[in-house]
Amino acid sequence: MTTLTRQDINFGQVVADILCEFLEVAIHLILYVREVYPSGIFQKRKKYNVPVQMSCHPELNQYIQDTLHCVKPLIEKNDAEKVVVVIMDKEHHPVERFVFEISQPPLLSIRESKGPLGGSDILLSHVEQLLRAFILKISVCDAILNNNPPGCSFTVLVHTRDVATRNMEKVQVIKDFPWIVADEQEVNMQEPKLIPLKTMTSDILKLWRAVILDRI
């Protein structure tokens, strides 16, 4: 049994990779399930060994990728607290928020075996299973949600810890893809209602997801 700290090379990166990958899948799926975009632009892909829907629209895909590209360094440094996918109606009032709350244990304990990330096979397959369960939850979530009004759009908000925002403003990971502080209007809902969807706890990360609804 060896313990790796967050500072150890790569580990934060691995976690960030996994998480961003998952977020990408999740965002696509949310957009599909919640019908933010017409289902025609989505195609079936295989992720975590199960079929998921992914958009084929190049600009949308680029946007999502860029977004996550910027989020990744934050997750690596454990600076991101939440990633929120907000679905807004025509007047830019948030209707639904899909909240991914991320917390990573400060110490990572990993069983030693072969390979640099020892025991990672079991670990990763476990994580994969958990993520699969998440995916499944997303695809059935409209059972508990109402239909969205037509003409919705979405944004991605990131809640950072401490002063990470300032750094983010200084160093633009991708040029011309600046992040701005979210409007009060986008963040707050008038009568929020929270529906927890799924929690996962694994050795490397803890992820918690909920939908917050605004039903006036």
């Binding site: 399930v33 199960v50 079929p51 699969r132 995916i135 499944l136 059935v140 059972a143």
Partner: protein, 452 residues
């Protein structure tokens, strides 16, 4: 257990907001799949009477389906509202049962697979415990045997690439060689096609008698070829036994059941290998104690025309250690084709026919069947002229060069599954146009030149 399970299901569906498929339920509660199906049905019935909160169900319908004049066995998973529609389209319904119940309205079939995935994964070793289809002779390999197989499989890996390139060059020649046959062989093909049609029908009816068809998914099963679809059904049962339920069962299930069959034919009849992997496997199986060949080879019966497909599919399985071995070493004896066509009601009979079909393998060296897309034009009952495109199997003799051609044909659909149909069509069109050119235009052109 009476009514208690209703609460159980209610909890899964309503409180956990789960998709409850019969398979998942059967694995979770540890009941037979048929029981699970009944439970779901009762639950749904119950809820419908109460007319309580919205529930969505999907159904599995299987039966005979006529598509462009070709009869096939179709298994589909459909939404409730499509149920009557699909039923009406079937010419004969073999089985209908509830596939899943969930609160959410499913937008596609993806999640259905996702639910079962982890349930099956957790019960990998005995996921067929509660299955309705059993094969007592299918016994998984012991870990020792598995190791042996792996060891044997490793050494000869360098061959394939070189051979492939060779065959690529030769295919051009080979395909040319085949074209001229078309006209003559086409005549034969009509006969053989009708023959196989008959045989498939017989076997199909037999299948229908069985109360449940275990095919896990529907959409991929919709192939134009009736033979294929039949195989899928048969092999779909097998998937329950084999390790996982895999995404496109149509594509994957078949190889799970039949590699043995193909091995025998390829290895005996074909010295040349793009298929050397399979041969390795074969060697492996030879080394094995030979127990359960029978179970596997059951499905060989009408495999003649199937070969190409199987070959392409087989590749997928290469990496997996074969769960069961087989005695495909084949006693090369007198070929007896007719035997295999007979539907066999009792298992013993089937086994018999199995051995026959083994024996016919050596025969294939000389006579092979392949499937060709052809257009037929005829006048139907109403007096309309109908042009139909259909796959027909035609037999052809296989000399050194031209057995590479069917190989190529087999490989094509493998490369681009989606386009395979289109390709075939194109090919046949090209062929057809080539033929017509030869027969009509060329004559006139040469005539033209001669005059000069």
């Amino acid at each position: 257990m009476d009514e208690l399970y209703l609460d159980n299901i209610d909890e899964y569906v309503n409180d956990h907001n789960k998709i409850v498929t019969y398979k998942w339920l059967s694995l979770t509660l540890g009941v037979h799949v048929n029981t699970a199906k009944q439970m779901l049905f009762h639950y749904l019935d119950h809820k419908r009477k109460e007319s309580s909160a919205q529930l969505h169900a999907t159904y599995l319908v299987s039966g005979k389906f006529v598509n462009n004049g070709q009869t096939c066995h179709k298994v589909s998973v459909i939404r409730e509202e499509q149920l009557e529609d699909v039923k009406a389209k079937m010419s004969l319904i073999a089985s209908v049962h509830v596939y899943s119940i969930q609160k959410a309205l499913l937008k596609d079939s993806g999640p259905l697979y996702g639910v079962d995935y982890d349930a099956v994964r957790d019960n990998l070793k005995n996921c067929s415990r509660f299955s309705a289809i059993r094969c007592s002779s299918a016994v998984p390999m012991s870990s020792q045997e598995l190791q042996q197989v792996k060891e044997i499989q490793r050494p000869p890996t360098s061959e394939p690439e070189t051979k492939k390139s060779v065959s690529n060059i030769q295919t051009a020649v080979a395909s040319k060689a085949i074209k001229p046959q078309k006209g003559i062989m086409g005549m034969f093909s009509n006969k053989t096609a009708s023959k196989t049609q008959n045989s498939t029908k017989e076997i199909k009816t037999e299948e229908k008698d069985s109360p449940m068809v275990e095919a896990p998914k529907s959409k991929p099963a919709l192939k134009p070829n009736s033979l294929m679809s039949m195989f899928e059904n048969q092999t779909a049962k097998k998937t329950d036994k084999t390790v996982k339920e895999e995404a496109p069962p149509a594509a994957k299930a078949a190889p799970a059941a039949k590699p043995a069959a193909v091995q025998s034919s390829t290895s005996t009849s074909q010295p040349q290998n793009k298929l050397s992997h399979k041969e390795e496997k074969e060697e492996a199986t030879v080394a094995k104690p030979q127990k359960e060949s029978k179970s596997k080879s059951k499905r060989i019966q009408d495999s003649d025309s199937e070969e190409e497909k199987m070959e392409k599919k087989k590749r997928r399985r290469i990496k997996k250690p074969e769960p069961d071995s087989s005695d495909e070493e084949v006693i090369p004896d007198s070929p007896q084709k007719k035997e295999t066509k007979e539907p066999s009601p009792s298992p013993e009979k089937q086994l018999e026919s199995v051995t026959h079909s083994h024996q016919e393998n050596p025969d294939k060296r000389v006579r092979k069947r392949r499937r060709v897309l052809k257009s037929k034009t005829f006048v139907d009952e109403e007096g309309c002229i109908v042009t139909e495109k259909a796959y027909e199997s035609e037999s052809y003799s296989e000399s050194e060069e031209d057995f590479k051609a069917p190989k190529q044909a087999a490989r094509d659909p493998f490369k681009g599954k989606l386009h395979s149909n289109g390709k075939d069509e194109k090919k046949s069109r090209q062929k057809a146009s080539a033929n017509t050119n030869k027969s009509t235009k060329q004559a006139s052109i040469t005539g033209f030149f001669q005059k000069k």
